[in-house]
Symmetry: C2
Subunit: 219 residues, 2 copies
């Protein structure tokens, strides 16, 4: 099998592995807090003393915070998993990118990067293969991650007309530790070649910019 045939399963594997790892962290923190509460209650029982509810409330607050975080991650994973149901679908690009950034948050953090979406005043749609476009956006991130220095903010900006997506600009910003030659680094990277091959399947091109990448969606 060539790299294009294995792109989707490998992308799915990468996202799911990262998210399940994040979920294990969520559960570990909940377990720790529940254990601490149990210790506090048992101590109070043994000593016959009063329970100071403050510490119990603080453990419960930690548990609830992790439940919220876990629910955001698992509901994103659920919506993401359902994008494999159809090979062509009219997708809301801001919605799928927002979800992808939640799901890849850990991967970005590990690379020392921060991801952002520029404000967009209208919903932009695109009729495409939803898993392929997400795999391409993820490849684009990975391409940039290998070229950029830690501490970079990578911003997605969507351009379109009459509700239809025409371009995505993915630009890097790092005041303290900038890279001057993103264009050169991208052009000579094998990952960039993988990206252009993957984009070709959804009729899209990638051009390196001084500050990042431009994806152009053909009509």
């Amino acid at each position: 099998m060539n790299s294009q045939e294995t792109l989707k399963p490998k992308f799915f594997g990468k996202i799911t592995a990262s998210v399940s790892h994040e979920m294990q962290n969520v559960l570990a923190i909940i377990k720790e807090s529940a254990g601490l509460m149990e210790d506090l209650l048992m101590m109070a029982e043994r000593q016959g003393g009063d329970i100071t509810p403050e510490r119990l409330f603080s453990c419960l607050a930690t548990i609830k915070k992790q439940v919220t975080r876990g629910t955001e991650i698992t509901s994103s994973l659920n919506s993401f998993a359902h994008t494999a149901d159809h090979e062509t679908e009219t997708t809301d690009i801001i919605e799928i990118t927002t979800r992808l950034l939640i799901l890849t948050d850990r991967l970005a953090r590990n690379a020392g990067m921060e991801m952002a979406i520029a404000p967009c005043h209208e919903a932009l749609k695109l009729k495409t293969d939803p898993l392929q476009i997400q795999a391409c956006l993820h490849l684009a991130m990975e391409c940039l991650f290998t070229c950029l220095n830690p501490g970079t903010i990578v911003t997605f900006k969507f351009n379109g007309r009459e509700g239809l997506l025409s371009e995505i600009e993915i630009t890097a910003s790092n005041k303290e530790n900038p890279v001057d030659d993103i264009r050169d680094r991208l052009s000579s990277s094998s990952m960039f070649t993988n990206l252009t091959d993957a984009l070709e399947k959804i009729n899209t091109t990638a051009s390196p910019l001084t500050s990042g990448l431009l994806l152009t969606f053909k009509k």
Copy 2:
């Protein structure tokens, strides 16, 4: 794209969607228990009375039970996700099937089925595409689910020699509501054709049995 090209992403989507749904349930129960504990503590504070620790301990037991369940599911999902990393690997068939049954537990329950693995006295290995074999095992389950009546126990039995897998028998048992013509039902089903096509890619054949299915792994 034909159904064979989309098999892996769709399989991945189905497993991940089901598991993330299960995780949402785990988190919902934890949230409910944490909320109940908060109510109990606040009630005790307002009334200036003692806290009866029994109810708090019982909530903590529920939380810990869900953490254990959630950890089993997410660690299975994590190992499963990593099977997409390699296209060929020497896999332990009992290990991957055990994990697949954990991950598809909700799907089996929804179909009213119970899954089991027959005791096997040695580890049986197979050098294959790990994601493809798992997708095939899942397809085999789905094939049987459509043919069988609720309440059926579906058992996987592994045969092999010198540590190498040669056959998997997947048999159905339902004393109250048996199906007499599994062989006929399977032979005429389009899902069974999908299964044989998918198995062909890993040099394996499927034969309908009176009581289920036999997968034969060629050397």
